[in-house]
Symmetry: C2
Subunit: 209 residues, 2 copies
DNA sequence: GCAAAAGTGTTGTCATTACACCCATGA
DNA sequence: TCATGGGTGTAATGACAACACTTTTGC
């Protein structure tokens, strides 16, 4: 139960990795970059990076996410730390995993999102990190998360789709509407959809203080 | 979004710390040791230690917990990683926090458990770690956790107390019994309490496969 | 008028809450 | 016989599930 100091203890690099989820065409997507150097040259990988000397992991993530999809401080969550001694073949690196959720994907970024149910082989242990992240997400389906995955205003049916994709089950449309409207977490706004080739939907927004 | 390699990145020591909870006299208790060296000489601290070169954090924790309260592999959970650059005044150390739950405290160990609502000043950031751990516990009240906090067989009312202490609210005794019995997670065993100076209680056990 | 998605109510079942008294034992 | 915790039932309320058709728009 006591610690011994000594030469037997190594040090490690400490990294953060962000699993940035979004939803497109009723599929859960994750943001990946192509590696441009060894190891794992040309493999896809999660964004991330090493902690600077004076930074907390949250600060590292903020820095790395600056300007990316408008991800702000309150919209990411630490979910697990990966410590397999062989996870980086170069030297020992532990990775602190974060989840972030984004809604408004610019068209230029769209090609960097991949459906999580059909990923190729990724760099390092990033498949494992993504798997653990989606388990976490599913286990914590909650309006705070959901609200990150839709734009500021949205039709009710869109948010139902988000619930369905994350929880991986279909819901009854009437029951869903009753429940979310009675819960008081969303309210109607005074504009409606335009330029859709069907009946325009009323739009809603979350009412978090 | 891309990583740059270079001298600007430091390395860090990586530690685990275990927040070992138990319940005594309807209070949530945590296991602490007295530090026998600087820094924080004579302050109380959480048990833990540094990762060895070939270990995952889980393995480090298993090693440290070997023989301690009979804590086995399946009975601890990683909950958060602490990365404040100043959390250890000697050198940079990140700490991966784990929760463990124990029920059978031997009398000789009793004095090492402290009620979490009246802790003195602790070593390092261990107060913060304990706070975060109890938040996690409260948010994840669940039979898998609860079953770790009671002996193999127990009276129904004991387990109600455990629920009450963790969720921090009182429950109605009749409703609690109905609910837990209907849920099918516990079953009666064929012995009853003895040597109590009141009506002896029937005893139950969890029925996890 | 057709395609496409939006929107709407009722009923049955089940889970949750509130609530107060008698029982079995040891001292 | 008293103190201590163990053990029990019923009624009201609220949440959730199942279920099918009409509405509004663009083309």
């Amino acid at each position: 139960m006591k610690q011994k100091e000594g030469l037997m203890y190594e040090t490690a690099k400490v990294a953060v990795n962000a699993v940035i989820f979004s939803i497109k065409d009723q599929r859960l997507m994750v943001y990946l970059n192509k590696r441009e150097k060894e190891p794992f040259l040309n493999y896809l990988e999660l964004p991330g990076g090493l902690l600077h000397p004076e930074e907390t992991a949250d600060e590292t993530l903020s820095r790395k996410m600056k300007g990316v999809f408008g991800i702000k401080k309150q919209s990411f969550w630490q979910f697990y730390t990966f410590t397999d001694p062989k996870r980086d073949p170069r030297n020992r690196t532990v990775s602190i995993g974060y989840i972030a959720l984004v809604s408004n994907i610019k068209n230029t970024d769209l090609e960097d999102f991949y459906p999580i149910d059909a990923l190729p082989k990724l760099a390092f242990d990033h498949e494992k990190i993504i798997y653990k992240a989606s388990e976490f997400l599913k286990k914590n389906v909650d309006n705070r998360f959901i609200s990150q995955l839709v734009p500021k205003v949205f039709p009710l049916n869109d948010i139902q789709t988000v619930y369905e994709v994350i929880s991986q089950k279909k819901m009854d449309n009437r029951n869903f509407r009753k429940k979310i409207l009675n819960s008081g977490v969303i309210k109607k706004v005074e504009v409606v959809q335009k330029n859709v080739k069907h009946r325009p939907a009323s739009l809603y927004q979350f009412v978090f203080e």
